[in-house]
Amino acid sequence: MSTGHAPDIDRLIQLLGKLPGLGPRSARRAVLHLIKKRDPLLVPLAEALATVRDRVRTCSVCGNADTVDPCSLCADPRRATGTLCVVEDVADLWALDRSDLFTGRYHVLGGTLSALDGIGPDDLSIAPLVDRVRREAIEEVILALNATVDGQTTAHYVTERLASTGVRVTALAHGLPVGGELDYLDDGTLAAALQARKSL
């Protein structure tokens, strides 16, 4: 079958098609767009990719992905607030940080405990977390983990591991979403919301 172009371009389409949110069709469109905008888009994109390729690393302190180590968050002295937010992976860190609501530092666990998937405490960045809490004058650890069985098991486990440090451990609230209507909530969420009710 003729594709109308040489294998080089095919390869680029195939690679782009592997990106999340893109498929073969959108990858073809993207490649065509890049070819048309060679100077304003393709060249800088290639350079940016090369730069990131050369420099990207995992922050040795928190596990964030950045081009410097320690990452820009860990290097920022204003973020030494004594509060540490524990997340499952980098995507969660970026999501939280985009909101600009949390001003402290993060710690990426790299997953959740899952015996079924063979992921144990040693596969997660739990020991480094305990070290950090001891070393960095942390006053509060916020567990921002998913409200799944694995996420909650992990939260329980991490809490226990942190018990010896005496740090205050909190978790994100589960319940009524902002702007949500009670009528449309499922029973599990309603139960969680009811349990986590607070005095006004």
């Binding site: 015996a115 063979g118 144990g120 069985v149 694995d150 329980h156 486990y157 599990g188």
Partner: protein
């Protein structure tokens, strides 16, 4: 007006009944107002179906017994349920139209019906004609794996493309609703490729093995997908409500409650405890909507703990990790046990309050670790602590045996023939059948009362096994229930009592013809 169109699977040739063949592929939830003739239903409903009011605790007169390990404890069942059961629930939803494509023996089926709960649907025909397949199709409009407990790809027609779909328009008191479910052809093909021909019966799919340690999320709704071998992606049953993609089959529960009785349930009292637990959990899920989720969460944590014990051994497993998992198990296990206990008490009260009929009353009890503690009056938090302690003490044993020795996955529904004060499993086959019919009728009354509208009732080959008096009693009970009944049988004459009210269809080799 009754119009039928069906297309026989193997030949693919159009076989028409009273109507005209429609196009071959009925997609998920494609039934729209524009396609279904006169729009007699008015505007789309905006309100959700009303649930019955919250339970009322009342001074109990009915006693329920929970037995475990030789200790016996009693709880009291509310009479509120009993007194309310005499109040008529709203009539249940009735099916206005049912469309199947590539489902079992039907390449396509298009049934138009009178959507009236007082007009039962009776399918008659020889063995193997495809009667039960129609009931099974309807049963997929509820959480779980349908009345045959099929794996997701199983209902796909042999010789079809691999996918299947069921779409139905239901008319309830608050208006019509379109429900559709099935699996995509492409997804089914991907799964088949990933598994290969030999992998079609892999272990993960066979979640209905009644090993007590195994856990069974099949009916829980939380474990509906089937993991494929290659990439770990899960084949999911797609579900649509009024043309909109729903998160999963659990969403159907809000629109439709299904109660069924099939020959496969005849062994309910003699089979392993897992079979009764599944029956019970399905019922509990119908009256306590969070149950399936709690059960699924419990089973996940239980499997994780068991995996941990198996892989690392009792001494090698990280005790903190075990404690975390046991904490999850205790939290969700207590929720599961409490919901079961509550449902059994209500069911017992419903049985008790029911009229004396040809179907003997059952005496119900629940055996189980946490259930017993709760029945004895333990606070949920205390019951959770006690269960956690038991799990901790049982680690070595559980690691050795490879199964979790205590917990809700070991519970059992104990049924006695009340008039004879005899365990149901020791009763004669005929008595067991009568007890079972009585129990399912009670389930139907309970769900009707709790949900505020009668369920849709599916009866597979039931009439044939009952004598004339019991058959009449069954039809009578169903009429009073107010839910639409779909019944199958080989012999039209058994349904003579329904002449004039029922919608009769004749099923033969995958065709359905309207029959008077």
């Amino acid at each position: 007006m009754t119009r039928v169109t069906s297309q026989r699977g193997d030949t693919g040739s159009g076989q028409t009944g009273a109507g005209q063949a429609r196009s071959g592929q009925a997609g998920l939830g494609q039934i729209g107002p524009d396609q279904s003739g006169p729009d007699q239903f008015g505007p789309a409903p905006t309100a959700k179906p009303a649930r019955a009011a919250a339970p009322v605790a009342a001074a109990g007169t009915t006693e329920m017994t929970a037995t475990t390990g030789g200790t016996e404890m009693t709880g009291t069942a509310g009479t509120a349920a009993a007194s309310r059961s005499s109040m008529a629930a709203l009539p249940g939803p009735a099916v206005a139209r049912l469309r199947l494509s590539d489902f079992r023996c039907y390449a396509t089926l298009d049934l138009d019906l009178v959507a009236d709960p007082a007009r039962p649907v009776v399918l008659t025909g020889p063995n193997g004609a495809g009667k039960t397949n129609v009931l099974e199709a309807l049963s997929f409009l509820s959480p779980g794996r349908g009345l045959r407990r099929a794996r997701l790809v199983e209902p796909a027609r042999h010789g079809g493309a691999g996918g299947w779909s069921v779409a139905a328009r239901l008319v309830a008191a608050d208006g019509p609703v379109d429900l559709g479910t099935g699996i995509d052809t492409a997804a089914a093909a991907a799964q088949a490729r990933a598994k290969g021909p030999a992998g079609a019966l892999d272990a993960d799919a066979d979640a209905d093995a009644d090993t007590d340690g195994g856990g069974d999320g099949g009916d829980g709704g939380a474990d509906e997908g089937e993991r494929s071998g290659a990439d770990g992606s899960r084949l999911r049953r797609r579900c649509r409500i009024d043309g909109t993609e729903a998160s999963g089959p659990a969403a159907f529960d809000e629109r439709l409650c299904l109660v069924w009785l099939t020959p496969a349930m005849d062994g309910l009292f003699t089979d392993a405890a897992g079979v009764r637990r599944r029956f019970l959990d399905r019922l509990v899920g119908q009256v306590a909507p969070g149950h399936a989720r709690a059960l699924g969460a419990y089973e996940t944590a239980q499997r994780e703990r068991q995996t941990l014990l198996a892989e690392r051994g009792y001494l090698g497993a990280d005790p903190g990790w075990l404690r975390a998992l046991e904490g999850r198990m205790a939290e969700h296990g207590v929720a599961v046990a409490a919901a079961r206990l509550d449902a059994v008490r209500r069911l017992a009260a419903t049985v008790e309050a029911g009229p004396e009929t040809a179907f003997p009353k059952a005496r119900l009890a629940l055996a189980g670790t946490i259930e017993a503690a709760l029945a004895a009056g333990a606070e949920p938090a205390a019951a959770a602590d006690a269960f956690r302690a038991r799990l901790k003490a049982a680690r070595a044993e559980d690691a050795r045996t490879g199964r979790t020795g205590c917990g809700p996955q070991r519970s059992d529904l104990l049924v006695d023939h009340a008039p004879k004060a005899m365990p149901a499993r020791l009763c004669s086959t005929g008595e067991q059948k009568a007890l079972l019919v009585g129990l399912v009728l009670a389930q139907a009354r309970l769900t009707a009362e709790r949900r505020g509208q009668a369920p849709l009732v599916l009866l597979d080959e039931i009439a044939a096994h009952l004598d004339g008096a019991r058959r009449a009693a069954l039809f009578d009970a169903l009429r009073r229930l107010g839910g639409q009944v779909w019944a199958t049988g080989t012999d039209r004459a058994l349904f003579a009592a329904l002449d004039g009210t029922a919608q009769f269809f004749e099923v033969a080799e995958g065709h359905i013809l309207a029959a008077g």
